[in-house]
Symmetry: D2
Subunit: 114 residues, 4 copies
């Protein structure tokens, strides 16, 4: 049988995959970034065992992207957001984070606290 | 060559398909409905020729759905939102609307104004 | 530090959330179900540590849904697919499954094998 | 009242927005590109008035992207596919195409045939 900590980590992963693949590809600009970040937080917080989602939109990187292209908006992808989440399952708390690791948006377990 | 009115209608359709299929499946509850509606409006307004998007979250229908199921959130689908959009292309304005027609979320041209 | 088993379970969760939220809302019918199931399998198998994805499209349930509605296609949602996945991380193998539990598409850890 | 040609163009736009925003962000590699293209074609062909969808996966561009990055898969975005569609509404046929125009994936009306 999986332990409570393993269950908690599984739940944490579900939330990350959900957030990323529900919203990747959304049109985003400097003016719409804030409302998109808020919607991501509140929608994923609906999922079971999800205590807190914090999305920081990387408007610095969006601005840099827009400076190099013809359109005045772009598509949401991993490097335009840093995410932290807190999941609780039974008595286990899990903290996770997504941030760029080189050119790859790495989702990682920060801490598993029993 | 397509007319400006035809181009405007094509652009209007793109916005509707985008809005629906980017956000369908998003976890939504009574408390998160507002932020999701706002994000839909602002993200699609980024697209070319899109002047205004108005999303009315049908929290009455979300509440009715939640009353009949075990989880306290559901997935965004057509009957949980009414949408109006205004598109402008060259000198043509197009007004569109999505609302339920029986059990089908019908996207329709309301007016093409030259 | 998270254990290898916890890391493996986190990775398993990511794949499930990704599969579900990338494809939920896709138009699906009896004739297109097979190609959609195949694309889900092959796209998620690209993700790190994902050894095998098996999607069984529940065409029985799609047929039942179509019999009760006006359109001849519907939108992909949890009850139209059963999914099994195998994830490997370091020396840990994780088997997971998604299937309906009452009215909710439950993603679960089946086994964590070290 | 909108003309049949305008309705046909609106329907054509819906299909394009749907295809793009349902599948943008999907993990894709050289080996999974074909099944993803096939699923896009068959799922969108379910939509009303959609006679034919042809998706050409630009594996040349996927290969070039993979050569420049660390992971061995990438995310579906506009430059990795060329799309042609045929829509029929009443007696009007519409042909549309999406292809890159500089750095932007332009969706365009090719012909409106009455």
């Amino acid at each position: 049988m999986p332990t409570d900590a393993e269950q908690a980590c599984f739940e944490a992963g579900i939330k990350f995959g959900s957030l990323y693949h529900q919203f990747a590809g959304t049109p985003v600009s400097l003016t719409s970034a804030e409302s998109l970040g808020r919607a991501m937080e509140e929608s994923i917080e609906n999922q079971p065992h999800c205590v807190d989602v914090d999305v920081e939109m990387r408007t610095d990187r969006i601005a840099a992207e827009l400076a190099e292209q013809s359109a005045d908006y772009t598509e949401l992808t991993g490097r335009f957001l840093d995410v932290e989440m807190r999941i609780e399952y039974a008595d286990v708390g899990v903290r996770t984070r997504m941030e760029m690791e080189g050119d790859y948006p790495r989702m990682k377990l920060v801490a598993v606290e029993e």
